[in-house]
Subunit: 167 residues, 2 copies
Amino acid sequence: MGAPLPRDPIADAQRNWESRGWADVAGPMASITAIMRTQQILLARIEAVLKPFGLTFARYELLALLGFAREAQLPMNKASALLQVHPTSVTNAVDRLEAAGLVERSPHPTDGRTTLVRLTPAGRKLATTATVELNAQVFANSGFSPTDVQQLTRILADFRRNAGDFT
Amino acid sequence: MGAPLPRDPIADAQRNWESRGWADVAGPMASITAIMRTQQILLARIEAVLKPFGLTFARYELLALLGFAREAQLPMNKASALLQVHPTSVTNAVDRLEAAGLVERSPHPTDGRTTLVRLTPAGRKLATTATVELNAQVFANSGFSPTDVQQLTRILADFRRNAGDFT
DNA sequence: TATTGTTATACTCTATAACTATA
DNA sequence: TATAGTTATAGAGTATAACAATA
């Protein structure tokens, strides 16, 4: 989205915070801002890979989740909980994926309230193909060293646990 | 958005990747997925703080950027470059902030093509107030230890530099 | 010709509230 | 009463393309 800047804008922001008397929170501010920007870069890379398959990241995540579920199916609310997204987001994603022939809805055999989502054969195939591409084009050259990966995983797992994502 | 899960869904995904023969990229996949989720959690916290002020994160970032600029003003394309967002996003943000009386557009004195954006007194005041709130409610208890902050800052700066954000 | 900015358009994801059906 | 899911509605950010004005 343009040429590289001559200076790191986030490091500049950190210095600005310090000069305003907010030195005590300048470090966390910079870390958090950097996470926001990093997510933006990574999401753009991921969506570029998925676009030829007609998938967004949210829809890919649902396909991938189903690909690892028993019988390739899950109740809607389970998918919502595991993907940490709002139920309406799952409804929306399933609507699109179903229209594309990648998943199917079916009634739960014993609980009439719940709807099951299941991969179709086409959905299973696409999930694998898209994952192989993401592995090759994004994850294999992530921009993080093996040490970085270890540290990130530990730091972010602590954060997510502390935020109430899991116990 | 629900009770904590009994297990870390990202650690589970990593194990699934390993069991599928993708062990070589399972680590980076997990790190990247964790970044996406962490961003989501942090953005929700930030927007909750900003909502009473009628600000979104994107609009707050523009106000904060202007607050540190000389004369509290910048050309539109400078703001776009520094915030790393699309020009249309800046146009949109400035439209809303201008309607709220927080910024003003003015013509550039020597280059007739460029538009300057400048904080109004109300905008400057709100930028400070909102920052103080973010500092107190989000950054002061970020969920990252001082060591985490140092490591994150280093890892993510390397990543962003490598991604072409700055030199 | 290249750059700056706006407009129009379209497509995401997200969230709230209201509603139906079932447990 | 509580839960599961859908629908309607609204709002957010993002991107592309076309365009006007200026350098």
